[in-house]
Amino acid sequence: MINNLNILLPEIFLTLSIFTILMIGVFTKKSFNLVFNLTSFIIIISIIIILNVSDKTVKIFLDSFIRDSFSNFFKILILIASLFVLNSSKNFIIDRNINKFEYPIIVLISILGMFFMLSSNDLILFYLGLELQSLSLYILASIDRDNLKSSESGIKYFILSALSSGLLLYGCSLLYGFTGSTNFDLISNSLNKENTGAIFAMVFILVGLAFKISAVPFHMWTPDVYEGAPTSITSFFAVVPKVTGLALFIKFMFIPFSSILLEWQSIIIFISIASMILGALAAIVQKNVKRLLAYSSIGHIGYALAGVATGVVSGYESSIIYITIYVVMNVGAFSCLYLMKKDGKYRENISDLSGISKKHPLLSISLLIILFSLAGIPPLGGFFAKFYVFSSVLEQKMYALAIIGLLTTVISAFYYLRIIKTMYFDDSIITYDVVKNKLAQTTILISCSVLITFFLYPSVLNKLVNSLFAGQ
């Protein structure tokens, strides 16, 4: 039993520290700064702990909890992403008066939920983790409670997400009914194509997961929530839950549903194409940068799902690489929003960017690099992400998916170019306040330098990701 607890160490550490800093937050006055810094510290410690555990696959608690290199990789990715998202948004949080000490703690709780989701090998543990994560996200979406838009987005997210969780739970119960087990391995063994009921259940689970990563046609909440929630929350939403959702997609495809891959595949191909097309077309008419990024993230999830749709390990690897680079780009893109401050207010319309390249050359060149990378233009990191995904798609001879996907990148290039046009070609009307936001600037710098230098060693990520599937 004690050995088992050892395997749970990251989760236990995270839980205990959440309790501790919650107490610290309650009993000290004006504790936001302290709790915030402690949170960053806890995240770093967690990364170190996970780095130090062995990569061997271990299953504990009646095989319901699994620790393997796959879950470890995603846990580290989530922690690093959260670290950058939180720190780059610190000044923003203070400026917007949402600097309550609960903020970082709730973020940590949602990370804990994600940890359990990633490590689950059982439907019940998976669902518990999902709910823990979702409940924290509902609170985060409406954390600026005096703001009408933020509350609205929180409620919208809550209702729709609760519905999808319900569907997912229904799917889980059906799956249990048809296979007689909640354990992923046992489900996988007893599934086959004749089991129509289980395929039915699979569709429900798929819907629930697709909602969490906002894939079309379950994307409706995304633009509103992205726009309504404070930018710091939006950037968290855009990055961290997406990573988890995609990891679970891969996990489900890899273990419980591996024997009904074909049925599952055709649905994912549809979702992927629909997301790519909608993400590309709907973003064209947006005027708000956050809404635009919402649609662009829908498109990017489409590309990542194209890798998942291949149904082979190399495809999963490519979508993991894709989502990793996506994290780097989006963290950078949102950090740029923290620097767009005028007269004490943060601007988020595309027109507010007009001509900033003259007054703010560094901000605009960073945004330029990030946007070209999002558009997938070589030699930036985003190109390699797309290259890997489409190369594994073409390996499976799915020509239509690849060609549609690449054509949508041309369409989506249009709206990224439109922002660049606003920054560089239009006349200057806006000068932002001088923002001393070292944390956001560092984040942008790191993001841009990763994207630029990625082409020197494009296989760094590959080796890491290849090792995730080596054991299986």
């Binding site: 233009i377 190369s391 073409l394 390996e395 020509y399 690849a402 054509l407 249009f414």
Partner: protein, 498 residues
């Protein structure tokens, strides 16, 4: 040779761009200008050295550099042969001239402009050096970013439309090429073109793959009917942008046909030859007629570029020695001449800020030196014997006569039309009545302008009379290309006869 000379050649401009980026703002940005000028001349000298030390008797790729890149299966492989070295030298020659032209014409944000030009140079040299399909695609596409900014930031009134059109047209063509590259990788297990030359791609795949590559190269060449982005881009781009676009970016496609389409897909190349002939002939005749009707000088030269590139594609797909050598020669010659013509337009544009033909007239009375040079380039563009323009067209026509009479005769019409629009342009701009009083106050070309234009003029005339250095450089490589092409066609015929 152990020293990575090609990587140095590629990344030298980019490193100097980094220096400019980090250098402090000064009055007139003189440090930025000097750094960029110095580094681009150094690159030019280095490329001349590569040319000099290239073993011309061998058709093999030389100065090969190989590094493992993506997962050990895609290599970062560079190398040059007799064909690519000419384009590299052309690139490194045109870039310093562009930088000199910026000193006069670019008034604002010159530092950023120079950075964009140098980064673009890196990507252009990279295109001509790469021996791997993925690397080629990387450089080919990356060039869009600086060019998009050059047109959009420093361009004319309709710059946004032109920049978007340029970017999206090219990107749309290229994504299909990316699909083809990945498919080739899964077919052959490599993207190293020297290995694919040996492996040979299965016949049933060739046609589709050829079309995918063609979609990219046709947009870039540009061939009729996807040429419409070019006049817009040329008209709105600043002088240096137009020069690079006409002199080098368009040549990437012709180079791509030679390096990829023909050796990789010989069967498909033969199959699609009628298509290329038709499109080239339409390009030559139709765009020449369109050029006749233009009011805008830059637009006229842009349309004439489309017509000249028509000769290039025609020549390449004759698969005769004269045709292929002629089209490479035509590309180099067009690189020099169109660059010079755009510079000439830039010279008067800096003075009057108009590109309309009707606002000029009688320039010869006040700008004699300029007029002399302009006439030289106009005559070279229409293919006067003694200039490079003549030799290129002559060789292409000789090549195409061997293959198809009618095509060659139709192409010859283009020569006449070319003479028509160039001479008429010269008549209206240089000679004739003085219609605009402001011309009387013009100063003749200054030293920098004279320097740029005479350099190009002397090259045009020198290689027009003595083309041997160029022809000798590419001779062996072209022979090798054609030999491999015929061999693989014969092999496939033998197989199908069995």
């Amino acid at each position: 040779m152990n020293f990575p000379i090609l990587s140095t050649l590629i990344f030298l401009p980019m490193v100097s761009a980094l220096f400019i980026f980090l250098s402090k703002e000064q009055k007139n940005n003189s440090s930025a200008t000097y750094i960029s000028l110095f580094s681009s001349i150094a690159t030019f000298v280095l490329s001349l050295f590569v040319w000099y030390s290239l073993d011309l008797s061998s058709p093999e790729f030389q100065f090969i550099e190989e590094k493992s890149w993506v997962n050990d299966y895609i290599k970062f492989k560079l190398g040059v042969d007799g064909i690519s070295i000419l384009f590299i030298v052309l690139t490194t020659l045109i870039t310093p001239i562009c930088i000199i032209s910026c000193i006069n014409s670019v008034k604002e944000r010159i530092k950023e402009f120079l950075i964009a030009i140098l980064i673009l140079e890196t990507f252009m040299i990279g295109v001509f050096c790469s021996l791997d399909l993925v690397i080629f695609y990387l450089f080919f596409e990356a060039g869009l970013i600086p060019m998009f900014l050059i047109i959009g930031v420093w361009g004319g009134p309709k710059r946004v439309y032109s920049a978007f059109k340029f970017f999206l047209f090219t990107l749309l063509g290229s994504v299909l090429m990316l699909v083809a590259i990945i498919v080739i990788y899964w077919l052959t297990g490599t993207t190293d073109i020297t290995q694919i030359y040996e492996i040979k791609i299965p016949k049933e795949y060739q046609n589709l793959l050829w079309l995918a590559f063609f979609s990219s190269f046709a947009v870039k060449t540009p061939m009729w009917p996807v040429h419409t982005w070019l006049p817009d881009a040329h008209v709105e781009a600043p002088t240096a942008g137009s020069v690079i676009l006409a002199a080098i970016l368009l040549k990437m496609a012709g180079y791509g046909f030679l390096r990829f389409s023909i050796p990789l897909f010989p069967v498909a190349s033969e199959f699609f030859t009628p298509l290329i002939y038709t499109l080239s002939i339409i390009a030559i005749i139709y765009t020449s007629l369109v050029a006749l009707m233009q009011e805008d000088m830059k637009k006229l030269i842009a349309y004439s570029s489309v017509a000249h590139m028509g000769y290039v594609t025609l020549g390449i797909f004759t698969f005769t020695k004269q045709g292929v050598e002629g089209s490479i020669f035509q590309m180099i010659s067009h690189g020099l001449i169109s660059a010079a013509l755009f510079l000439c337009v830039g010279v008067v544009y800096d003075r009057l800020h108009s590109r309309l033909i009707s606002s000029y007239g009688g320039l010869v009375n006040y700008l004699p030196k300029y007029s002399f040079l302009f006439v030289v380039f106009a005559l070279a563009a229409l293919g006067l014997p003694g200039t490079t323009g003549f030799l290129g067209e002559f060789l292409v026509l000789t090549g195409s006569f061997q293959k198809n009479y009618i095509v060659a005769m139709l192409a010859t019409i283009g020569v006449i039309l070319g003479a028509g629009y160039m001479l008429w342009l010269t008549k209206r701009v240089i000679f004739g009545e003085i219609t605009n009083e402001k011309i009387k106050n013009f100063k003749d070309t200054n030293k920098l302008e004279i320097f740029m234009l005479t350099t190009l003029a002397s090259l045009v005339i020198f290689f027009g009379f003595y083309p041997a250095p160029l022809i000798e450089t590419l001779d062996v490589s072209v022979n090798n290309l054609l030999m491999n092409y015929e061999q693989s066609l014969n092999n496939i015929k033998v197989v199908s006869n069995d």
